[in-house]
Subunit: 313 residues, 2 copies
């Protein structure tokens, strides 16, 4: 769930108005909404995949599309420190859709649901001009595990759970129909949520977000909502050797893939110096009072452009 | 939420497999899923509107589309005896969409949310070839108010909360660009959920469903899931005088609109003879052991065709 880009339409003020219901702890503006129900916290989110925009059946199998539709929502709930529980699947299908494709999409959905012990409890199927999968998901979050975008503190370290830019390298290989580089292509075709990587130490995390739109954009979200700034150490950004090789082949800069690419679904989180030893991840930067997100390299800092890769642009 | 029509794709077995999680009281197969959380019951549902299939901007204003997207989900939660609380709105927009249209859709969404004191807590916006609005909704149901499709009893009376066929008459007038008949056209353009009509006597209702696909189809759902049959008294089906006049003009049978039309969003419910005096509505039939749904008229019964109007056919 990310309505931040709705600003493109000039209606952000209406969309982000303050919730009236006091049980809405977090409304629009984080990875999921957080709703208090008695002594439980519920995480509620939805994310949409549109054929031709988010995937192409030229290189995705229908199973992979089904898997991805679930993983991206699991990632959103995981980035709040939550556990996914129940999913609704809304499918829009072109009239000529082969039943085997629908069957395969659901096979992917069920496989991924099984992995996370989450269940599809409903949804609907309708007609349309192109394949659309909108999954909404309900999860639970323990109070002590809740991780927001808005709670990073100056002095925090910034860590990431795994290598970045992999998915974007994979996408570019797929678009140009370049073989090999299997790990990189698979990262795009079968992304996996990273919630289990942070599960053992959730209570030590100050702020967290998942990397759906590129590191630059995600750190910017944390900084804006926490009213802080950040510096990212360019040389510390974890990038797979295979991603670097693919980027070279594609005449691209792998750092750009990491900063402005998307869909790695790793988690970026901040942690105080005191708790650094309690967590695991790649240390890539620091939160500080000075506003703006800067990239540090060779003794110099430069301001990072605001937006990463945006599906809507 | 209605995945019953997914049977068209031959994957109904996979979709409707028995839930593993014991807190899923109702999974796929009713108007919403029902999930037990501590001593609360949550209702979870999603419904999709696709331009060209469910509405046309030739005769719908964007506000009306936004309103309808919320009302149809409120209707599903209401048909379980629940109260809607939180909504997620996923929008797929063609690239040339005017910001004014998006703004107007959200105006409709917010107006309807305000009416039901429900709040939009998230969602997303993506690109696509046609306008799609998928709304998912979370509601609460008091245990004593829970109304399922599967709990009708032989001997129950069948009641409906209001006139049927109105929306279909309106749709046909709109498709043929015929003016006047404002009430009928408005019924299609601005349908309203009927939950408040049954709220005072929910605990006396045995089974309930909302009329999204026509009376024949809805009573069939109740009968199949309750393992009973029904007879509907043709002359008792409430149909507005204006609907009858519109049908005459359109050379159609208003009873067909009621039985096989859709989107009236009235509620059909069953109640025991003992509790009949406790409820309000139009008495249109009876539940009985003999399987099948029959229409009674002029001393004769005939079996009603299984499917009403189905968006997917």
């Amino acid at each position: 769930m990310d309505l931040s880009r709705i600003g493109e339409f000039g209606i952000i003020k209406r969309i982000t108005k303050k919730p009236i219901d006091k049980n809405i702890l977090i409304g629009i503006g984080d990875d999921t909404a957080i709703i208090k129900l008695k002594n439980k916290l519920l995480a509620l989110t939805a994310d949409t995949l549109v054929e031709g925009d988010h995937f192409s059946l030229d290189y995705f199998t229908p199973e992979q599309v089904g898997k991805k539709a679930i993983e991206i929502n699991v990632s959103d709930i995981g980035s709040m420190g939550g556990i996914p529980k129940y999913a609704l699947v809304s499918l829009v299908l072109p009239r000529n859709t082969d039943v085997k494709i629908v069957d395969a999409i659901y096979r992917g959905i069920w496989q991924t649901c099984k992995k996370y012990k989450l269940e599809v409890v409903g949804g609907n199927i309708t007609h349309g001009k192109q394949l659309v999968i909108d999954v909404s998901m309900l999860g639970e979050v323990k109070k002590e595990n809740l991780c927001l975008r808005s709670t990073a503190k100056p002095g925090d370290f910034i860590l990431v759970t795994g290598p970045l830019g992999t998915s974007t390298a994979g996408l570019n290989l797929l678009l140009k129909n370049i073989g090999n580089y299997n790990k990189v292509r698979k990262a795009h075709l079968e992304p996996e949520a990273s919630l289990y990587k942070v599960k053992p130490f959730l209570r030590y995390i100050n702020a967290m977000i998942d990397v759906s739109d590129g590191l630059a954009s995600e750190v910017q979200h944390i900084c804006e909502q926490s009213k802080v700034g950040a510096v990212i150490f360019k040389d510390n950004i974890p990038i797979l050797e295979e991603t670097r090789k693919a980027a070279e082949l594609l005449n691209a800069n792998p750092i750009d893939y990491a900063l402005y690419g998307g869909e790695d679904f790793e988690l970026v989180f901040t942690v105080s110096e005191k708790n650094l030893s309690k967590v695991k991840g790649f240390l890539i930067g620091e939160i500080r009072r000075k506003k703006g997100v800067y990239l540090y390299s060779n003794g110099k800092e430069r301001l990072i452009k605001k937006h990463g890769y945006d599906h809507f642009l």
